[in-house]
Symmetry: C2
């Protein structure tokens, strides 16, 4: 009799975004004429950089001809892409990361989930609250938690609150030792950013207790102050205790094109039960070779073009466009009397719901009254209750229209 992985039964309701999609679809079916503006899921709206499209068109043409056709590539990604990333994203900023330490993948979401494959089942795990739900759900699926309580918190996870009270910085635990810590800066969902000092505290902590930091830098392109770290490897000692995830989704708009990367320094080790140290690079390389077949050649050529002169200019323009949206959202909502956070070094604005409204109350209210879709903060964790995430990914026209409608319906 074949048995299921029962840990899946512990998962609360739907994954946040499918649940939002379900509510929006129901509303749309009942209100076919409604002009719904989506500022919910963090999906980009502007076209891909022309440099990326040019490169992919060329790659498609290569596939037409036996002489230039590409079959299986290296599972880890093509060297020409890994080298450009190493040089541009890391070495240029003083991070001693080699191309061989970069693994190309089809998504950061996948990688932040799959990384658990190479780690043990008895690590003490910490996440922030609110948090990107994938970190939590993949741990639930892997059996690293008990059931959820009424607040939606899973037994066995340490939740580190990041709220207005602590200026959205994640405090290093003092009363409990953790082995594995998920950090995401610029943060999804709060839009907060980490200083070098803040990350240094975490690296120092991780090194002191032999913990591993899983650092999600998917939004690093939105950092507008050059003194802030884009990578955790800008922090002394991080190569001994951190894995970093990056993506082409939010800088170059690859959400539907699919390319990302994970950095695992070769110096990074974790323990076997006999106390011996095992290189994590080696384990991930084995996983990547056995359970993955590399990213589409065509897509990797598109990602490579991000590093061309034209690609860099186009990506910068894209990011600036969304950041200008974020600024408009911040200003309009503030003018409407709302308290807002984030949106300066991130494409997300974290809005405090007006007194008396829960996150989902505000979601339903905005959907029904203003036909605007945002993301309920409580979907990101108990400490997100009373907050609401608005994404800056949309056209200027839609952002302006959305702000007009929200202002009219929510004037405080």
């Amino acid at each position: 009799m074949v048995k299921i992985n029962e840990n899946y039964l512990k998962l609360k309701a739907g994954y946040l975004f499918p649940e939002i999609a379900r509510r929006v679809n129901t509303f749309a079916e009942n209100n076919p004429d409604a002009d719904i503006i989506k500022l919910g899921i963090g999906d980009v709206t502007e076209p891909l950089p022309q440099a990326c499209c040019d490169a992919m068109a060329k790659a498609v043409d290569e596939m037409r001809d036996r002489a230039t056709f590409k079959g299986y590539g290296p599972e880890q990604g093509y060297p020409w892409l890994r080298e450009k990333i190493a040089s541009h994203d890391y070495q240029r900023r003083g991070c001693d990361i080699d191309a061989s330490e970069i693994f190309i993948s089809d998504g950061s979401k996948c990688d932040t989930g799959n990384i658990l494959d190479i780690l043990g089942d008895d690590n003490a795990i910490a996440v922030t609250d609110p948090v990107y739900p994938v970190y939590v759900d993949t741990n639930v699926m892997a059996g690293h938690t008990g059931p959820a309580n009424d607040e939606g918190k899973y037994e066995g996870l340490l939740y580190i609150p990041i709220t207005a009270d602590n200026n959205f910085t994640a405090k290093v635990p003092t009363d409990q030792k953790v082995d594995l810590i998920y950090l995401c800066f610029p943060n999804n969902p709060t839009g907060a950013v980490a200083t070098k000092e803040h990350l240094q505290e975490w690296v120092n902590y991780a090194k002191s207790v032999d913990a591993l930091i899983l650092f999600d830098a998917a939004y690093e392109a939105y950092i507008t102050d050059d003194s802030l770290p884009h990578s955790i490897y800008e922090v002394e000692g991080a190569k001994d205790c951190a894995i970093e995830f990056r993506s082409f989704s939010k800088n170059a708009g690859f959400t539907g094109t699919r390319c990302a990367l994970t950095v695992i320094p070769k110096t990074l080790t974790a323990k076997a039960s006999d106390g011996s140290e095992v290189q994590l690079w080696q384990l991930w390389n084995r996983r990547h070779s056995t359970k993955f077949n590399g990213v589409s050649y065509i897509v990797q050529r598109g990602a490579e073009a991000v590093y061309s002169e034209q690609g860099q200019a186009e990506v910068k323009a894209l990011v600036n466009f969304y950041l200008e949206n974020a600024k408009i959202i911040r200003e309009k909502l503030t003018a409407a009397g709302l308290t807002v956070y984030g949106g300066i070094h991130a494409p997300y604005i974290w809005v405090q719901a007006p007194e008396g409204l829960s996150s989902w109350d505000l979601f339903d209210k905005l959907l029904n009254a203003a036909n605007i879709v945002g993301t309920p903060g409580s979907g990101f964790g108990a400490a997100g209750e009373g907050y609401f995430r608005i994404s800056a990914f949309n056209s200027r026209e839609n952002v302006n229209e959305a702000m007009k409608r929200i202002t009219e319906n929510l004037k405080v």
Copy 2:
């Protein structure tokens, strides 16, 4: 202190193909002038169908323009692709499979590994011997086995021999109950094919003991006798006990382009420990949404074009081309006195090594003496010892040249 998943330490040496690559690279470095012909890894060599390239070129152009740009797609794949697959690959052959039961992914290798995520850790698992190493290695990684013995067999797995002695058919176990069975037909590596009667035996068995069959149909396009089943769902009762994996890699040459699919009928259930039945579709859908972000839009458009009239004609020509290679290989090796199997409904020829040579002996001999790369049968399992897999994926010219060189060096 962060701990690793120690099950990885049980894995024997390298995954087969990286190990081959290592030996070939070493040889190539030492013999820079050698004209190496690779008939090892099952990678295609002919260009993509023009219909697929045309569709992808169009899709790339859509990404240039805000009005036609595509961000995140449905994690499960676009309906237009799922519907074409359901209709063409399944309903047309009398299989009652709905589009919603088809999940698009970036590879069958990934899916056959990832499927274990939704299954329990205490299932009794059977594989054939020889077998595609990914089925075994992913179970080792997931902790479903003990260590390997000297033969390379992992404790806790049931190995069902498929050899010349039993005409390469996998016998249903009579003395042991299994919960999970991996079957691959047309078979990798032996090139054998399954009749409907053979699959019916397995379906009957699975239904009688509530087992689940993981059916890998990656090579179904190579079946040349229309009375043979392309899908396990052509067999009565399979919708209640089987998951099927398919790929665009070997029919349309997508090994470097990346697109595959997994079919999970909604009628398929497995048990929780309290005896309740849980729909596997629902669990996989949750996994797919949480740990995957869908296949590149551009690539999905390429896959869709496989089902156009032009695409179908081009895929047929590709498959026939490789099958003609297989025929040449069979004939030449037979004429040279070797005993060969497979290669009629599959792109693989399973060669018996000449008396006294092990699989790796023959690998090294062919590499050194003839500069030909094949795959040692023992890399697929203990019962593959003494066999050697030759792939029909190459140009006609290379196949002819390779046969000439092998014949000269191996004349029995």
